[in-house]
Symmetry: C2
Subunit: 154 residues, 2 copies
């Protein structure tokens, strides 16, 4: 295998994380039941500059798990350009969502839960990052914490 | 956005899943503690034709969570070409691993836990698929179950 690139400095990792949050459409969402059954699916999201907003069915396993835990761990890939983002989850109903945020979600993801009112009920899930990690290869594991306790490290 | 491709038939999905298992180096591994704290990291793996083998530190959160649960949910990406694989987990020590499998793991992943005996202890985690799902876009969600109860559906 080719030698991995030189590790990025904290400022570059922050730039790359923000770029990925703006650019990517989907993330991996891990969740768990109260008795420790893990679950994992991809969901579309929008980044509004401070928060990741997802949308899914209120009765889905992911929504029930995240509402219970009040905390989400999300990953953006690929696996050799990882961003892991954790933070508290707030459930927002289709009626209560900020219309500008809902518009941004629809533009980013190509689907608009507000248009699906006759379908099984969708909810938005807003995740405020408290911890963000970013690494590519093993040589970037040191320094992977780009946000700790809600504070950017660069 | 461009219209998504025509949904693949079951045989094509099986072919694509097996190809991805042979070709990919990393997968996403979801796990949870007994009290429902979800966790998610990427790990390297090898597919030997019937089983996914991972390796990680015995004291890592993922290893402890998977050993407790006895069940893993793994994902291969990207998020618009998803394979989700679930099944029982068996822990195999570095001393007990089949040498051919350990060799295959080292070749596939570029790292060999047997060479790290002086390091904190690594273990292999073998996941036997019981359920596999594969989809690209939303139009492939119907028919996404390519293996149910250990049986290929094509």
């Amino acid at each position: 295998m080719a030698a991995p690139a030189t590790p990025r400095d904290p400022a570059q990792r922050k730039t790359d994380v923000l770029d990925k949050l703006r650019r990517e459409v989907d993330c991996w969402v891990a969740s768990a039941s109260a008795i420790g059954d893990a679950y994992l699916i991809p969901l579309s999201f929008v980044w509004d500059g401070s928060t990741v907003t997802l949308a899914t069915l209120r009765r889905s396993r992911t929504c029930r798990n995240l509402a219970r835990a009040g905390w989400a761990r999300l990953a953006l890939g690929p696996t050799r350009d990882v961003v892991i983002l954790e933070g508290p989850v707030t459930e927002i109903s289709v009626d209560a969502i900020d219309p500008a945020l809902a518009d941004a979600f629809a533009t980013a993801t190509g689907f608009d839960p507000r248009q699906l009112a006759a379908q099984p009920e969708y909810v938005y899930l807003s995740v405020e990052p408290r911890r963000i990690q970013a690494w590519r290869e093993a040589n970037e594991l040191p320094g992977r914490d780009v946000m700790i306790d809600g504070v950017w490290q660069a």
